[in-house]
């Protein structure tokens, strides 16, 4: 017993003290004052608040929230019989087209819309191993007005108009 007490006093206690000191130092140096100041200067974007239909006006919200929106669409995709088409990745690539001359580029190209940020952020996405990265030319999914609109905002407006028309047709049946 005497032996164990000696070991405790000589080895374990100094080790514990050192550990506590290092933890305290870590906590102190982890958040230097200049970072805290930067956070105050630029207020954080509310991450949990999902705003729909306004991302062309406020891209910052979409930059933060697109993962949650896609996840929501993803979990409903197969199971919901009343699936709504507003959170589909298909819709992203329909409006966010990057053209090489006349032809839209696919996800294999670094200029593709999704690649522009993900390459910089070092995020590798595997959405396009299964999903189409090119806008569809199927007239049932996409009208020529959507396809030929020049800006993202214009495409979105055309898309909304198109889907409303489709919905009106559906109810008329």
């Amino acid at each position: 017993m005497q032996q164990y007490n000696t070991i405790l006093r000589r080895r374990l206690l100094p080790a514990l003290l050192l550990g506590a000191l290092l933890t305290a130092a870590g906590v102190f140096f982890a958040a230097p004052p200049h970072q805290a100041a930067a956070a105050e200067a630029a207020p954080p974007v509310p991450k949990q608040k999902l705003v729909r239909g306004h991302w062309s006006e406020n891209p910052e919200i979409m930059r933060k929230n697109h993962k949650e929106l896609l996840l929501e669409g993803m979990t409903n995709a197969a199971r919901a019989t009343n699936r709504k088409d507003d959170n589909t990745i298909e819709r992203c690539v329909t409006c966010h087209i990057v053209r090489d001359g006349e032809k839209p580029v696919s996800a294999a190209d670094p200029r593709h819309f999704c690649n522009q940020c993900h390459a910089k952020a070092g995020v590798s996405i595997d959405c396009f191993t299964c999903h189409a990265s090119l806008p569809t030319t199927d007239p049932a999914v996409m009208s020529p007005e959507v396809r030929n609109a020049d800006t993202v905002k214009e495409r979105l407006q055309q898309w909304q108009k198109y889907t409303q028309e489709q919905a009106a047709k559906g109810t008329g049946k």
Binding site: R79, T81, T129, C130, H131, G170
Partner: protein
């Protein structure tokens, strides 16, 4: 196994489910414990399980040298052949059956049978293999780990596996290497109120051998014909209760 017997069982189950749902809806929110409320999302019109989409295949109208349904399926879902028949994707197979006694030959397409008692759903370890409220059996490819249990469990060889990279996936039917897959009964078209691609192609080819409709609606053409013709289920002895039924063959 009689069709009517099956239908009765299915109806009894669905009405039971509906009454339970109605009870939950009526309750609105249930008090689990002091301060903890379980709120119930209101059921939507088409999530009540009232519908059960099915196909009725009239083998007397199906001809051997026509493959309109197979081609339409491949085009719609972007199923491209890589020249390797053992692993190429195929969601509909044309099968020729001969009665050894009479020599009667029949041709029929075989796709996912969208079983009421789906074995692929039973064996799936991740819940990727699923049955929708309207009876359509699908693979949630975000959850599929590619174990292929469902491929082995399916008695109809209807579940396939994507063995190779997909270069240009169809926008309406995302599919990629390493995931189980099969006939979706063209959910993307059904959701829009259109017919499945194979049904449309068969009608366009002039054969009209495939009929699509709601098996749970006794006034629908498919339900009437199932009753009138005594449409048979493939491997009825397994009691999987398929939504795809066949007329004109003794199975």
């Amino acid at each position: 196994m009689s069709i009517t017997g099956n239908k009765k069982t299915a109806c009894a189950e669905s009405s039971c489910m509906q009454s339970r749902r109605r009870f939950l809806l009526g309750a609105g929110a249930i008090l689990l414990a002091p301060g903890v409320l379980l709120t119930v999302r209101p059921a939507l019109a088409d999530e009540t399980g009232r519908q059960r989409w099915g196909l009725l295949i009239d083998t007397r109208r199906c001809v051997g040298d026509c493959s309109a349904c197979v081609t339409a399926c491949s085009t719609t879902h972007g199923l491209v052949s890589n020249g390797r028949p053992a692993t190429d994707p195929q969601w509909i197979r044309k099968v020729q059956v001969t009665d050894p006694g009479t020599g009667h030959v029949a041709h029929m397409p075989i796709m996912c049978q969208h079983c009421g008692n789906a074995q692929c759903v039973e064996v799936c370890p991740t819940g990727a293999s699923l049955k929708r409220a309207d009876g359509i059996v699908l693979v949630d490819k975000h959850l599929c780990i590619g174990c292929r249990y469902c491929v082995m469990a399916c008695p109809f060889k209807a579940r396939g596996f994507a063995h190779e990279e997909v270069e240009n996936p169809s926008p309406v039917s995302p599919r990629g290497k390493g995931s189980a897959e099969g006939c979706t009964m063209c959910v993307h078209r059904i959701n829009k109120g259109q017919l499945p691609a194979c049904v449309e192609a068969c009608a366009r080819s002039g054969h009209e051998a495939i009929l699509f409709g709601d098996l749970n609606d006794p006034t629908s053409l498919i339900a009437k014909r199932v009753v009138a013709f005594g449409a048979a289920a493939l491997r009825a002895d397994l009691r999987t209760d398929p939504s795809v039924r066949y007329v004109g063959v003794n199975l």
